[in-house]
């Protein structure tokens, strides 16, 4: 114990270099743990976002694209699905329930999702948890809206508030559907998923606002009216890529929508997943894609895995650089400390004591660096958490350290200890050769 105090006092004597070394190790550890934390939290966050949904169906596109657009709102949908197709597929005997989704609008930077009561009834997240209302209830009229917890909290809405939806999913939109305001009927409890950042409105509501925005549909001033039939077909295709459901020319409020962006499917038995997927993929009416969310997630991980591993490797090297900085700091201090060691030797310290003083110092510096790094990590996550959620839709928790993170920290400490053996051995050799007189 007394030798430990000696090591601490010796370190205190070199506050500046020790402090800088600790700071550099701390920063590198923060980077390493931060990358790891974001990696695992992103995976957890993505995985927890949807559960209990067996298939997701959208227009023909890549599985990852469909997953990102329909579940996370991170990508634009490629195309729409005709309502008839949705209804036809929903009738499949193996399907227990479906949730239609209509995307493409936003409110104050938050995603607006057109759906119906099935979303509240069947959508599950995390470990098959269902949605809970904290205020009010699910909308029953076409101009009703339900808010995610964060939307309500950040924008200060309550049940009964009027909101105006904007066209497009960006933060800033120049087209406001202000002729068709929605009234908040309820607010959902926090889920830690993109649901918190979503405004739910009815499919009919979405159609209604676009009908208002495109009076050509209602009043016959269709700018595409003069185009030949073949071109008209092409124009319809363009129209469909408008990322949201559109209305039929003879659309009236309260009628069925003509198109949706995607829909979730819940099966009666999960074993039917592949056959239903094949049925959807081979659907004659239009080109559709059905994906298994878990499989699509795996594909997504395969894409980001290389990048993640590269990032992790880079941060591991940064830690190594930090530890090398410590090695340099200790090595340069060795010569001036040989005299100190000679004094200790003269009063009875063994070469092993001298060795353990240096290795102990390296261990302490590393340990303090790691501890400070963890503290920095938590401080950073506390500050950056809302920002990450806002920018990337990822709900990164600053929870307790995982086993893997502890292993990483342990590895850093061990590496610090091993690196400390280099100057430790050197001073050991010095103290054997020097005795009580320094021979430089």
């Amino acid at each position: 114990m007394s030798h430990f105090i000696l090591a601490i006092k010796s370190l205190g004597n070199r506050k500046l270099t020790a402090g800088l070394t600790i700071a550099s190790i701390a920063l590198s550890v923060t980077l390493l743990l931060g990358v790891e934390r974001i990696r695992t939290e992103a995976q957890t966050s993505f995985t927890n976002t949807i559960s209990g949904t067996d298939l997701i169906v959208g227009a023909r596109t890549s599985p990852v694209q469909l997953l990102l657009s329909s579940v996370f709102g991170l990508s634009d949908a490629a195309n729409n699905i005709r309502w008839e197709s949705y209804e036809a597929i929903s009738d499949h005997p193996a399907i227990a329930w479906t949730i239609p989704l209509s995307l493409g609008d936003s409110h104050a930077g938050y995603r607006v999702l057109g759906t119906n009561g099935t979303f509240f009834d069947h959508f599950r997240y995390d470990r098959k948890q269902s949605l809970q209302m904290i205020v009010g209830g699910w909308f029953s009229s076409e101009d009703g809206a339900v808010l995610g917890a964060e939307v309500a909290e950040k924008l200060g809405y309550r049940a009964g508030s009027d909101i105006v939806v904007a066209h497009g999913a960006g933060d800033i939109s120049f087209i406001q559907h202000d002729s068709h305001p929605f009234q908040v009927s309820g607010i959902l409890a926090r889920t830690g998923t993109p649901v918190d950042r979503t405004v739910f409105v009815s499919l009919e509501g979405i159609d209604a606002i676009h009908a208002d925005m495109n009076p050509a549909h209602d009043h016959g001033h269709d700018p595409l009216a003069g185009i030949a039939n073949t071109d008209r077909h092409h124009a319809e295709e363009i129209h469909k890529t408008d990322h949201h459901s559109t209305v039929d020319e003879d659309h009236h409020h309260g009628h069925e929508p003509t198109a949706i962006t995607a829909f979730y499917i819940g099966l009666k038995t999960r074993s039917a997943a592949l056959s239903v997927q094949r049925t959807v993929n081979e659907y004659k009416g239009e080109s559709l894609t059905a994906i298994l969310p878990a499989v699509a997630l795996q594909e997504l991980w395969a894409v980001v895995d290389v990048m993640e591993k590269t990032l992790l490797a880079v941060s591991a090297f940064v830690v190594l650089v930090g530890l090398c900085g410590m090695l340099v700091a200790i090595m340069t201090s060795l010569n001036e400390r040989r005299r100190e060691m000679a004094i200790l030797r003269a009063v009875g310290a063994r070469p092993m004591h001298v060795f353990s003083l240096i290795v102990g110092e390296a261990a302490m510096v590393t340990l303090m660096g790691v501890a400070l790094g963890v503290a920095l990590l938590y401080a950073m996550f506390t500050v950056a958490q809302p920002l990450i959620a806002y920018r990337f839709g990822l709900f990164v928790s600053a929870g307790s350290l995982s086993t893997y993170e502890l292993v990483l920290m342990g590895t850093v400490c061990l590496a610090g200890l091993l690196i400390g053996l280099v100057p430790g051995y050197r001073i050991y050799r010095y103290s054997l050769a020097d005795g009580m007189t320094i021979r430089v």
Binding site: K9, R339, A346, G348, T437
Partner: protein, 279 residues
């Protein structure tokens, strides 16, 4: 070289048959692991030491004996191997040939760890300069040997309630009783004060042998003599043998005996000296 050996058996406080039994006044402890028939504090015979084992040795001493409580001055020019001899006596290094007995114990026969313990228990050191560990307080510097030697700690506690109190007592003996002085960082002390702190550290826990390696070379003549007198007083109180090494011959008269290292060392002289003499 027999003429170099003059024992002061008359001053031995102990019966030669039980040579290292401390007097009842200082505590009834037997100084283990000293051989009971030993009468000499230091007994060196046929010693040869060289940094490079293949080359000629730099130290070749047929015999050197120092009696208990003797105050011996070992003089020799710079580079004559004084510090090396002290390292051999203290068991920090071991000779290639010969026997080194300290307090009756063959130091060269002990293992490295045993030598370290022996040194911690029985030998106090004062260096020329840079005696103190800069990041330790004055009291911590003085009590440093008690961290490494249980024996010295025990002996310090016989005199005072704590090792810290013993350090304060020793500092008072060395004319550094001022509490403000004791609180000052050691780096702010004058060289003379630092040397007294080093002396207190060497004396704490009453080691049997005090080795001083040019401890006065950075002091002026007045302080030098005062410091040596202080050392003599403390050594007399503790019945400590003093081995004092210096190149400054003017101090020799203050000691019981002077040993000239150049005379007892039969190693071949450095080549550079031989060349000079030939010219």
């Amino acid at each position: 070289m027999e003429s170099d050996i003059r024992l002061r058996a008359k001053d031995y406080p102990m019966n030669p048959s039980t040579p290292f039994l401390i007097t009842p006044e200082t505590g009834h402890e037997r100084i283990a692991p000293i051989h009971e028939t030993a009468a000499l504090a230091v007994d060196v015979s046929d010693l040869q030491f060289g940094w490079d084992t293949a080359a000629d040795p730099i130290l070749d001493i047929k015999a050197l004996q120092i009696a208990g409580e003797e105050r011996v001055f070992i003089e020799g020019p710079s580079g004559s191997g004084k510090s090396t001899l002290l390292s051999l006596l203290a068991g920090v290094m071991t000779a290639q040939k010969g026997a080194v007995s300290v307090l009756g114990q063959r130091v060269d026969a002990l293992s490295g760890a045993q030598r370290d313990r022996f040194r911690a228990d029985h030998i106090g050191f004062i260096f020329q300069m840079f005696n103190l560990v800069p990041y330790l307080s004055l009291i911590e510097n003085v009590t440093l040997p008690c961290r490494f030697s249980k024996r010295r700690r025990k002996r310090a506690l016989r005199r005072s309630a704590s090792v810290g109190a013993e350090a304060v007592r020793l500092m008072a003996h060395l004319n550094m009783a001022d509490p403000d002085l004791l609180k000052r960082p050691v780096t702010e002390l004058s060289v003379g004060q630092q040397q007294r702190v080093a002396a207190a550290r060497a004396l704490i826990g009453a080691p049997e042998i005090l080795i001083a390696d040019e401890p006065t070379s950075s002091l002026d003549a007045h302080h030098r003599e005062a410091f040596i007198c202080l050392l003599f007083d403390e050594c007399a109180k503790e019945t400590t043998t003093l081995v004092f090494v210096s190149h400054d011959n003017s101090l020799a008269t203050m000691f019981d005996r002077t040993v000239s290292l150049t005379q007892i060392n039969h190693a071949r002289r450095p080549r550079i000296q031989i060349v000079k003499e030939a010219m």
